[in-house]
Point group: C2
Chain length 140, copies 2
């Protein structure tokens, strides 16, 4: 039985969130919400709600953040990760890891209070996958 | 006013669709549908419906396909593009191009009969963006 209940968001790493948000608004008429900081993950971020799912814009808070390293290789920005909604983070992680995935870092919480974890791209088709268990009443 | 009405899919380029589908099913319990070929785009593809949006798995039909070039740089696979739903493809393209985007190739149709077009990553945060106008009665 699937633990994945939907596609939460696609993350785009960008050098500057305000500049990126303006570019996307002018080209596609889509609007980013307020900018948050997640110091535990070393990122600044903003969401664009597309109705059924979201775009997450992320930029590094410091030069040693993994997102900073991504931008060194992709200075203009680029697709950074995809996030699946799951009903139960621990159960979903157990299934994925049982099938050969490896967790990147530790499970934590995002700016909405959701529980999240990342899986190393090496074992998942070269894709950094985030799993997100919605916190009760956490969504803005 | 926004022309974008939702997030259609996130595409993952993979060397082999059947192998990738099995890996995603074992790790996340998500299942790919039948494999299609789009000879105009030079790709083989399959969709994983996550309820609110889809994952598209794509692999090259020939060594000179742009997806083959992507896989030369990313042999294990990787996030390839993101696709937005739009109400009117021509109107959405006009807005995006008016704001500095450039179309990659020509507008065409996907395997579902939707009208689609791609925008060059260079002008869109390093991200290959597909726009998709749903064909009437086209979805399987």
């Amino acid at each position: 039985m699937s633990e994945v209940t939907g596609l939460s968001h696609v993350a785009i790493a960008v050098p500057d969130i305000a500049t990126a948000a303006t570019a996307l608004e002018r080209k596609f008429g889509i609007k980013a919400g307020p900018v948050h900081e997640n110091t535990a993950q070393g990122v600044r971020l903003a969401y664009i709600d597309l109705g059924n799912a979201r775009i997450e814009l992320i930029s590094p808070l410091s030069p040693d953040s993994p997102v900073a390293k991504f931008l060194e290789k992709n200075p203009a920005g680029g697709l950074h990760h995809v996030c699946f909604n799951v009903g139960d983070l621990d159960a979903a992680l157990a299934v994925a890891i049982g099938a050969g995935a490896r967790q990147a870092g530790k499970s934590g919480n995002n700016v909405h209070g959701d529980r999240i974890a990342f899986l190393n791209p090496r074992e998942v088709l070269g894709v950094l996958v985030e799993l997100e268990e919605k916190g009760v009443g956490s969504r803005e």
